[in-house]
């Protein structure tokens, strides 16, 4: 029983010591750089498909009319 008690108390002391040693170095996470705001993926995808289709549609018609005027 005494050995078990000793084992537990020593374990607690070791954890406490490790926590104290790591505590000042954990402050590295306190500094951060401001990141750009993220846009939801669905919005980005829908916008990108719309814009691509609208851009592609007109030049294709234009080139078709210009070089193959049938």
């Amino acid at each position: 029983m005494n050995k078990m008690y000793r084992f537990i108390t020593d374990g607690v002391l070791l954890i406490l010591l490790f926590g104290l040693l790591v505590l000042p170095l954990s402050t590295i996470g306190l500094l951060q750089v401001k990141t750009t705001q993220t846009v939801p993926t669905e919005e980005v995808l829908s916008e990108s498909t719309e814009s691509t289709s609208s851009v592609l549609r007109e030049p294709v018609n234009y080139q078709h009319n210009r070089y193959n005027p049938q």
Binding site: Y5, R6, T9, D10, L13, L14, L16, L17, L20, L21, V22, L23, P24, L25, T27, I28, G29, L30, L31, Q32, V33, K34
Partner: protein
Amino acid sequence: MFSRILIKLVDQAVVPAMLLLVVRILSVIFVSRHFGIEFTVGQSGFVFKMPGDYVLVNSYSTLAMICVLSVGLLYILMKSMYLHETHITPSFTAKLFSMRLSFFIQSSFDLYSQGVVWMSYLYLLVFVGALMVMFGLIYLWVLLSAVVLAIISTYFFVVDIENEMFLEKSKKNNDVNKEYVLTFGGSNE
């Protein structure tokens, strides 16, 4: 009941932990003000706008931590070299007692537990500093200064432990408690 060494180490680790924590936070504020870097304090901590500002402030605040560690280690090494109860000269002991500064004289147990704690902080800082250099979060010269300090302080610490060990050996060889039997009243033949 409790491990005496572990209790001593925990006891000795509290002051440097708090000191380094305070130095880290104060140095971030001071360096930002000194270089005119803007930051906001949010829930997650200090937030900087530019990555370059972040690296600058992080490097100088880490350097401040290294400076505090070097002062602490220098104090412990000076005590272990000149005020160690096993090395101290009798005349210096008498001087300290006359000036009522006898509490400066410390035992090996006190000195080595302090040394182990402060050296652990320094080694951990070198390890974390190496990781930060790898990810480009601090300048390389900050890590190099920490490594140089670690090498020098380790060398002097080892020299002091060696002195202590040789003193122990010589004490064993010149054992004053050895019994000698003197016979008086012998004939002068």
